[in-house]
Symmetry: C2
Subunit: 107 residues, 2 copies
DNA sequence: TTATAATATCGTAATATTGCAATATAGCAA
DNA sequence: TTGCTATATTGCAATATTACGATATTATAA
């Protein structure tokens, strides 16, 4: 154990869960927020912005990239990261769906 | 280490992260989906629905309740759970905000 | 009261995550 | 080349999460 059980759940459920999980860390939310407000995409700026060491930030960027939430393109020595809204839209749609199907006379 | 660093991040960032984290598990997404589609709120139904043992499901329900994503009210021997949309709306708003501020000429 | 049904809690093993120092890698500038 | 800057990777220690059997707890039913 310690391992998350994914067999027995639908593909959709597993994908949603792993996207939510990728966003379930303050550093990763802060990265997303920074990418949202910054005009230019970033890289080392995050090291100056967040209270974490460079390797830790690199690790969080990797996780966001693996989840498809951000993209990075090489630009000389540095790497330009930006948001990929396709994935966040999947979450958006899921959350929106909760509003409409709900039974108002529950609990 | 092993502990998530929350000092140095804003309250907002930490709250968003912990809400996303609470949803970052297939069992918990499946519970939310079930609560969405079911007319009546549930409890033991989940044990018959999900590929997990009763104590495990109870634990996931507790996490969702702690996060404020679901509510439970005692009803005799059983407990009636339902969604609390106030919290999911916080996530919804965050995801929606990503769409509008974004710089289209990035990466 | 006794039994039963629905949940919760405890204890624990297996595994995952987090954070960082040290180090590697890769591009560019001098 | 040498050095510098930006980023990634490795290796590890500390801690968190997941899953579940066993066991409590609590409310009703018989």
């Amino acid at each position: 154990m310690g391992t998350t059980k994914s067999e027995g759940f639908s593909e959709e459920v597993n994908e949603l869960a792993s996207l939510f999980k990728a966003m379930g860390h303050p550093a990763r939310i802060a990265i997303i927020q920074f990418l949202r407000t910054q005009e230019k995409c970033i890289c080392t700026d995050l090291v100056n912005e967040l209270p974490l060491a460079q390797p830790t930030i690199s690790q969080h960027l990797k996780e966001l990239k693996n989840a498809g939430i951000i993209q990075g393109s090489v630009s000389g020595t540095s790497i330009c990261y930006c948001l990929n809204l396709e994935k966040t839209n999947v979450l958006d749609a899921f959350l929106a769906s909760l509003k409409y199907d709900q039974n108002p006379t529950c609990c």
